[in-house]
Every structure is written in structure tokens, then in C-alpha cells.
Symmetry: C2
Subunit: 411 residues, 2 copies
């Protein structure tokens, strides 16, 4: 290993980000690059061309995940990094691709400094993380970790009836590498935070210790339709009032200090008959609930049920609650987390431990290998949006920390 | 005038109601009899057949309103009664037609007792009160009172592109009587309450002193879309929370004793992007506000604006409020109201003064002649619904009071 302290090349990294942002560029400076489209192919081709020019070995597996390998000195398990290259429709220019290109920049830096690691390092571009064209999201890593059967994945169709397998063939990325034939030492994914916490707390690096547990509920309140003019307010069974009191109360519960930054969202509402001069007899709404602490989440669920029951009873409404999703929290590997922390400290970046509120390929990957993530801030927390943006210093910080983390893990 | 105290024939009235309820009868015991359809024609034909058999003169005007005249002793202005014969889709068997048939029953009773009134009495079946097939509602009375131009009304089309004029011709009810060629002394419309007040207060007769002023508002709250997982609740600009706090606060204001039974309804809500894992950036909702006292209504509007502004500011949301409708309250004629009250007292029916929260033909008619209405309860206040129902005693009470009111006014 060279005695010179290696430094990533921020100009090169920003050039890479800019080049990839041209592929599927939108009018408002974002990116639309749906998975397995010709635009996705362009991004894949460009990644492979740069990698092969730099002397890295490229393999594509049967679900289109691309593995770019920089050999180590010894025949040891690989250290992996990477993220996804696809975007949301009218998405941002950093979501996913930042982690891929920060990883590429690290490999190129290792070349620049002629650094030899003991473990091989593999940069991966995972297929279809967004799930916008083919559901579910995080498909490439799901197949890689055995959470989704390959043939099942192949059969999934987009809105035009094209299957995943057909789409892989169409762009020439139905690879022949065996799924998950590597022995893996550790996996580190760099990603923009997609939330406002780091920027608001003036922190540069998020040391990601895991991902939130998540529960989804569907709530229906049923009252009695009535004439808006003839029915006194105190004689109504108004489902909209039930909805409103429920959301107001749940939001207050979520903001209570005891709830410890629980994430509660009512994002979808349907009202029936939805007529301006008829008191509504039905309201349907969803609750998305997330927290790292499964016990706190379970306790909060009890609070939700009690609160909704109390309001429904008070307003003489019928209440139905269906729990439609329940996923446990994910706890990343302590050694990986420590490596990220040490790398942040070494580079003098302010850093906090945090938990991912969003799903990432790393969440699946953590089930088969020691994993952690590195978050950098994004401006105002805006993501899945053309306005998604980061600063040069954040961009550099993430790659610096990734470099030192991978160096430590691959020694 | 006969010395015998006349009594309406409740058995005959209930038979009439039952016969008309067969025309457009629905599976669940309601009625679908949209205006100017072949079913409406059947109801019109039946009314005319009974009326002509009883010796009354029938005229149809150019918008299809049917006038059934029982002559008076003198050439004096007519006393009118009546209501509409059309229904909502899957409507009830009493809304509208009760007022027509109670009026018919009164005329038949006057025949039974050989009573001669000084003023002629005209029973009217008004065209298209519901507005379900052709908007606007209350079309026949609007044309009759000059509020809607006849040629404009003729040109209005239903969903199949059929005009009002064509529909009138198709069923043979494009009449040749001149619009509003009568001199009118007074108009009394009997109707089911379509609300729960009379039944809840254990009253049999509503002496209707007018109709509510009404204002409609459209409210838009704009926040910032955000990821449900990555954005702490206290860092959001959540339009759904804004909606919920707004409706909760407005509902409490409406229930305050100072608001004196103001009718406030949020019946229509649209959320954007309406996705269960995205914090909503837009909420649109409507407010329907009604009260008899215009000053109270204006003051309440000020409260609404202040309350919504306070909530929007607190939650960092952009607020837009558009007032899209403002109709003044309608005050019925004091002499007509007094006649109704005297008739209720004479018959020993419990009665309260009340204000109509719904629109009725009488609301238009009050602009050209002294007017009032008689309400009877309907079970649980349910109307515009197949479950609409009344009791025999309420049915009789409304017709008794109508008889004595018309007798007094036509003397």
C-alpha cells in the first residue's frame, strides 16, 4: 500500500455525475432514466466503458446487476460497494447514481495511487431499485439475496406488458454470471439522505446504523350521508370530521417527545360521496408508520387503535382498521458502522448516526453480509424530484469517507 | 261554505302516494323518476287523469309545469300549492310528490265537502326540481318566476345531448299556456323536511319562515411533498395535517353556541399526490356554509378566514380561499307563515318555526308572491335516498294543515 494518503478526485467525480446526468436529463435539471430502458442501457454502457478502460473486470448476472471488480492481493471475500443507476420518473440526478459513481471514483483513486488491497473490491450497479417501471422496488438486490425468485422476477411485466426478462434481453443485459457466487466480506452503500436531517443539523456524514421498521394501515370511517343544508352539525355522523379529528390527534401523538421522532404519515384520502353539499358517509385513509425501535412501534400502534376508537365512538362512526404491511427494522453490522465512523473522524467530517427511513439495496444485502451505508445531505431533503441537489463539499465528503471505509475493510 | 269541519281522507292520500310510488319504483322501495322521462310522463298523466275526473281544469305551460285549477266563487288572484313530481336517481317516494298529492287530496276533500272558496286554488306540479337530468335544479319555478329565460332553459342538454325542449316534446308536455299569466295571492308548498330536526324535537309540523343564506368556498393548502420515511414529522409542510386541523377547528367553531346552529360542511376533499408513502403537498377542500341570519353568516366567514390563516401559518402552508357562491337568505311572507301556524294550532299539532336548509320551488316563487311552506318530519331525516320514509300520522298532519291554510287564504 502506498504511503501517500490517497485523496479522491472531486473534479473527476463531479464530471462523472454530470456525464451520467445527461442520460435521461429532464427540462428542469432532473433525470428520467427508468430501469432497463435504452437510457438505462446508455448509463450501463458508459459505466462499463470507463471501468474497462481502467482495467477492471466486468460481469453481469442473470438479473442485470453489473459487477466491476478491482482485484485484491489475496483470494479473499470481496468488499462490495455501489448502488443503483435507475431513477424515478422526473427524479433527481443523485439518487442511486451518486453511490455508483462515488464507488467508481474510489476505484479510480486506488488506481491513481497504485494502492493494492488484500481483498478484491467490487463496485455493483443494482438493477431496478426504484420499482417505477417494474414492481417491486429493489429487485436486483432482492434476487441477489434470494428474497425474490429469479423466474418470478423475470415474469413481472411493465404497463406495456413487457417482461423483465424481455427488457433485459432487449438492452443486452441478461448476463451470464451466476447470481451471488461471490463470498462477501462487507458491503458499504453511499447514498444521498433523501431527507432533511443532516442539513438541518449541519452534519456532513450520516453513519447509517439500520433502517426503520414500517407498518401500513388502511382506515375506513363510516357515518351517515346527509344533506348539508338540512342537517344540524350536532346531529351528523360526518366521516370527514372523523378523518380530520383522527389525523389531527395522530399527528399530535407523533410529535410528542415520548414518540421519539416516529414517522407517521397520512398520505392518501378518499371521501365518499365527495360532493360539496353532502355530509360524507365514508372516509378511507392510509397510515404509514415507521420507527427503528420495534417495541416503540408496537406501543404506538396500540395508541393509534385507542385514539381512533375513541374518536369514532365520540362521533358515532363505524371504524375499521386493516394492517396491510408490517416489516421489521433492519440493524446494520457493528463493524461496518464503526468503519464508516472512523473514516468520517479521520477526514474531520461532522457525522451523526442515523437510521434510514427509506428502503435501499443495502437493506436487502444486510441479510447476507455485514453491511452499512454512508449518507450525505441533499438540499432541503428534496429527493424523487427534479430539484434534488447536493453541494460539492458534500459530494466530496461522501466519496472521501467511502474511500477510507473501503480501504479499512479491504486491508 | 259547508258548516261541516272538513277532514282530509288519509286512506285516499296514502293510496295516491302508493300509486305514484309504483312509477319508477326501485328494488329497495325508493323511486327513480327523472324529469321529462317516460316515467315522469306516467306520473303526469296519472295526475291529470285523476284531476280531470274530479272536474278540475288542467293547463300545461311552455316549460311543462302543470296547473290544476279548482275555480273560486269570484274572479280573484289564485292561491297556489304544489311541489315537484320528479325524483333523484334512487331517490325517495315522498320528496316532492308528497306536496303534489297532499295538494290534490286537499282539492278532492273540498269537492267531497262541496266547499266553495272565493279564490280559485291551483295545484301545480313543477318541472325538474331535482336537476339530476338537466341542471339547474328548480327549473320550472325558475322559468315561471323569470329567474331563468325560457329559451335558455330549452337549450339545456342532458348527458345524452337531448335538450329540455326535445324532452318536453317527446313526452307531450310542451304546453301552450303562457308562462305565469296568473295573478297570485299566495303560495303554500308542503314538503318532507329532508332533515332530522322535527323528529328529534318530537314536532309534527315545521312552519317554514324562509330558507338559509348559503356560501360556498374552495380552499387549497399547499405544502411540500416529502418522503414519508426520511422526513421527521416536525420538519414537514404536510397539507393533509393542514386540512385535518382546519376541518377540526371549523367544526368546533360551528358547534359553538354563539354560532347558533350554523350549517358548515366539508364534503369534498382532493389530496395530491395521494400516495400512501408521500407527505401530501396539496389539499383541496370545499366548505358549504348556511344560516338564516346573513349577518351571522358574514361574521362566521371572518372567523373561517382567520382560523384557516392561523393554521396555515402555524404549519407553514400556503393558503388560498375562493368564495364561489353567495346566496342571500329567503324570508317568507308573514301572513302566509301565520296562516300555517294557525292551521297547525287549529289541528292541535305540535309545531315549530324553522328555516329550510334545502332549496325548494317555493324559494323561487317567494320572489313573485307571498309564500310559505309546511314541513312534515321524515324518518331519521333521511332523504335523496331509497330509505326515505314518513309515518301515516305525519302524512295526515301535513295535509290537514295544508287544507286549513289553503282554506283560510282562499276565503
Amino acid at each position: 500500500m502506498s504511503s501517500l494518503q490517497p485523496q479522491i478526485n472531486i473534479a473527476r467525480l463531479e464530471k462523472l455525475l454530470d456525464d451520467f446526468a445527461q442520460i435521461g436529463k429532464t427540462k428542469n435539471g432532473g433525470v428520467t432514466r427508468l430501469t432497463l430502458t435504452s437510457l438505462d442501457k446508455q448509463a450501463r454502457d458508459l459505466l462499463i466503458q470507463i471501468s474497462q478502460s481502467a482495467g477492471f473486470k466486468v460481469q453481469v448476472d442473470a438479473i442485470g446487476n453489473i459487477f466491476i471488480r478491482r482485484e485484491g492481493l489475496k483470494d479473499l471475500p470481496v468488499v462490495m460497494t455501489g448502488s443503483h443507476g435507475d431513477s424515478q420518473p422526473k427524479g433527481g440526478r443523485y439518487d442511486g447514481i451518486y453511490g455508483v459513481l462515488a464507488g467508481l471514483e474510489v476505484l479510480l483513486t486506488l488506481n491513481d495511487y497504485n494502492i493494492q488491497t488484500n481483498h478484491p473490491i467490487e463496485l455493483v450497479m443494482w438493477t431496478n431499485e426504484e420499482g417505477s417501471r417494474f414492481a417491486p422496488a429493489m429487485m436486483g438486490s432482492a434476487v441477489f439475496t434470494g428474497k425474490l425468485d429469479l423466474d418470478q422476477a423475470y415474469a413481472i411485466k411493465d404497463q406495456d406488458g413487457i417482461t423483465v426478462k424481455q427488457a433485459l434481453e432487449d438492452i443486452g443485459y441478461l448476463g451470464n454470471a451466476k447470481i451471488a457466487n461471490q463470498s462477501i466480506k462487507a458491503i458499504i452503500e453511499a447514498h444521498i439522505e433523501q431527507g432533511p436531517i443532516l442539513e438541518q443539523q449541519n452534519q456532513t456524514i450520516g453513519i447509517v446504523k439500520g433502517a426503520f421498521a414500517q407498518r401500513w394501515y388502511e382506515v375506513t370511517l363510516t357515518g351517515l350521508a346527509a344533506h348539508a343544508g338540512t342537517t344540524p352539525v350536532n346531529m351528523r355522523q360526518d366521516a370527514v370530521v372523523g378523518l380530520s379529528e383522527s389525523v389531527t390527534a395522530l399527528n399530535r401523538l407523533a410529535l410528542h417527545p415520548d414518540s421519539k421522532d416516529i414517522r407517521l404519515t397520512v398520505g392518501m384520502i378518499t371521501v365518499s360521496p365527495n360532493s360539496r353539499n353532502v355530509v360524507a358517509d365514508h372516509c378511507f385513509f392510509t397510515i404509514d408508520l415507521r420507527h427503528y425501535d420495534s417495541e416503540l412501534l408496537a406501543n404506538f400502534e396500540t395508541l393509534i387503535y385507542a385514539q381512533l376508537s375513541e374518536i369514532a365512538e365520540k362521533l358515532n362512526l363505524k371504524l375499521e382498521i386493516k394492517k396491510v404491511l408490517s416489516m421489521p427494522s433492519i440493524h446494520f453490522d457493528l463493524n461496518c458502522i464503526t468503519s464508516v465512523r472512523k473514516a468520517a473522524i479521520k477526514n474531520n467530517y461532522s457525522a451523526i448516526e442515523m437510521v434510514s427511513g427509506a428502503g435501499h439495496d443495502a437493506c436487502h444485502l444486510s441479510s447476507i453480509a455485514p453491511t452499512s451505508m454512508i449518507f450525505i445531505p441533499c438540499i432541503k431533503g428534496i429527493s424523487h424530484n427534479e430539484a434534488e441537489s447536493i453541494t460539492t463539499s458534500w459530494c466530496k465528503a461522501g466519496a472521501d469517507v467511502l474511500l477510507d471505509t473501503l480501504l479499512e475493510l479491504s486491508q
